[in-house]
Symmetry: C2
Subunit: 393 residues, 2 copies
């Protein structure tokens, strides 16, 4: 029985967590530095990018998370500290040290993240100054932390929901260079539930595989993807099955928010694959649809060029596809069956469906029983504009 995800209407932090955010001078005006803190040491798990040029914070982060304990996360935006060699590693370590001094905790309990331009050194003295005294401005609104980690995101993203007596908060950023693999963008999940670190790790990986790992905004896998979960246990035990289910639902909710706020995006695109030969096929095909620039532009223009869906399926060379069995729907309207465009295909009706804020392409392969859903967005002039001058702006 599915448990319904009910979001808190106001942004809430789980008990014992607080955050702060400031402008330390990396950006001109907006906040570029955030700190998240738990008053007690939390069990922690994390997944990181599979990109072969991980940023310095990822290289360090993989070591830090081995102890399965965290008490703080410090994040800067604007510069990602990737492609920065030994100096980059040193700067990431310094950042953790500044935060541990400010919070008076062990530096091994501090996770660091950086997001932004690749290949530039962090002006470390700005981070030092920014972190100093930041804890005099604690907030219990996660949106405050979300603000300092934004790059091209158009709004800060945080959601909270209850699980039993506990609260879960998800803080995230996405927008561009987003096709995470084994992890995603920057996502921080906080809870006051008491959960064993190994179970936390297992639940996190499962939820990420069904949510953030099924998101693609532009096929480009970031060098800084990080998804962390911290459980400080202050609110005690929860039903872990329920927690796992709601964690996944919450991650999917945030995945949709990230997709919808993809660079230049005007709408959410979903590819729902049913009855594929294998889970791998279902995922691959869902990603092929969500990543096709011709489907993304079709959705943008609400152009009923649905033959492009056949193209995107057909280019999955190694997947089992039986054209005779294939059935395709757009927003639940049948458009293709029996090797032909559906006889009652009405261009204007399909144009209207494609004009919605949410476009769902459902493909029933009718082969075996594996399903997958991928999340993405349309491709617009806005994406080009943002990315033709990202470095310089």
């Amino acid at each position: 029985m599915a448990i319904k995800l009910e979001l808190h209407k106001m942004s809430l932090m789980p008990k014992g967590f607080k955050c702060a955010s400031t402008n330390c001078g990396l950006k001109e005006k907006e906040n570029d530095l955030s700190l998240i803190f738990s008053k007690t040491v939390a069990n922690a798990a994390g997944v990181f990018t599979k990109n072969q040029f991980p940023g310095a914070p990822i290289i360090l982060g993989r070591e830090i998370i081995k102890k399965k304990k965290l008490q703080a996360v410090v994040v800067n935006s604007k510069i990602s500290n990737v492609g920065t060699g030994q100096q980059g590693i040193d700067n990431a370590k310094k950042t953790a040290t500044y935060a541990s001094n400010e919070l008076n905790i062990d530096k091994d309990l501090v996770m660091i993240s950086s997001t932004g331009v690749i290949g530039k050194q962090l002006p470390i003295e700005l981070l030092e100054q920014g972190i100093k005294g930041i804890s005099s401005n604690w907030s219990t609104d996660p949106i405050v932390a979300a603000k300092g980690i934004m790059t091209t995101d158009t709004y800060p993203k945080a959601i909270s929901f209850p699980v039993g007596n506990a609260t879960v908060t998800i803080i995230a950023k996405g927008s561009g260079m987003v096709e995470p693999n084994m992890a995603t963008m920057l996502v921080y999940i906080l809870t006051d539930a008491a959960i064993d670190a190994d179970l936390l790790d297992e639940m996190l990986r499962n939820s990420v595989n069904l949510s953030f790992n099924m998101l693609s905004i532009d096929t480009d896998t970031s060098t800084s993807d990080t998804c962390l979960i911290l459980a400080n246990g202050i609110s005690g035990d929860v039903d872990t099955a329920q927690f796992a289910e709601l964690l996944t639902a919450g991650c999917i909710k945030m995945t949709k928010m990230l997709a919808m706020d993809g660079e230049g995006a005007t709408k959410l695109l979903l590819a729902e694959i049913e009855n594929a030969h294998s889970a791998q096929d279902a995922k691959y095909i869902a990603k092929s649809i969500i990543n096709s620039p011709l489907i993304k532009t079709m959705a943008y223009g609400a152009d009923p060029n649905i033959g492009r869906i056949l193209m995107a399926l057909g280019k999955c060379f190694d997947c089992s596809i039986i054209p005779e069995k294939l059935v395709i729907f757009i927003n639940d309207k049948l458009v293709y069956k029996d090797l032909n465009i559906s006889p009652d295909f009405d261009e204007n009706e399909v144009r209207k469906l494609l004009g919605s804020k949410e476009v769902k392409i459902k493909v029933n392969l009718n082969i075996k029983s594996s399903n997958a859903i991928a999340y993405g967005c349309d491709l617009t002039e806005g994406y080009i504009k943002e990315n033709a001058a990202y470095y310089s702006s």
Copy 2:
């Protein structure tokens, strides 16, 4: 020793070949139907799309090419005859029959191609009328044939060059839905050299793998990709090693023309990979660079955001990459080495290089000795514009 490709300045057809083109009413004004004819039966070879939803002409074409003989090719643009079921197959057969009647040759010697919107039936009576009498307007200018096969191409593409006493002509269209695999777009290669059909097939596959199969405009693999070669032998034997080398050079030349005329493109993008662990790695990495929307938009905006090259390399999860050994050049200017952006990296200089009509990203992996070059173009607002309303326009 490399033989230099020297293009004929004027468009020439090999001896015994002629072509014609007309508007049969699929498009409003422009030509939408082309016929290519050899006065004698030619040895022939062909490669076709690997897309799992091939168009009706591909399904038939795979059968026709088995006999290794062709005398004519009939091509329509605007409607691709894909996703059209049995009626589509019947229409493709009818098209071949109309052409065989017009030319008074066996219908098994006629190859058909269609390109354009997917999922619409061909108005077959228009093709019948268009083919009837088309041979009263023969031309020996391949540009005439190239005109009738265009979709979003901005100009008709044909090149000719000599091999010994013989001539080779390549007629092609590309523009969008272009990441061919085992074949490409529509390409017709004609020659009056005498070459055995099996050797022709071998040479074609080799050339295609080094040229059209290394082209990607938008990662989307067409359902209609076809590359044919016809050799009618009228000019007799040639040095086949020389022919093979020049065929590859000619195909690469045409690949660049197609890349440069990608939908909305303003410049040619080349990814040259050196000293990869394997040929497969070299190809995969070259394609990763050429397909990255963030690299494509960087090239478009001439934004020196070269960290994105690291990202595109790093997301080749299964390729051998040793960051310490990696060296990167843009238009032969060193930009990355020893885990760092090059110390003499000059933003304005790199901006200027990225502003060229041809941007070459060279990556030396320094692992083993496999090389590859991929061809593509930048990603611009023009691509979005063309593809947000392709069906409707």
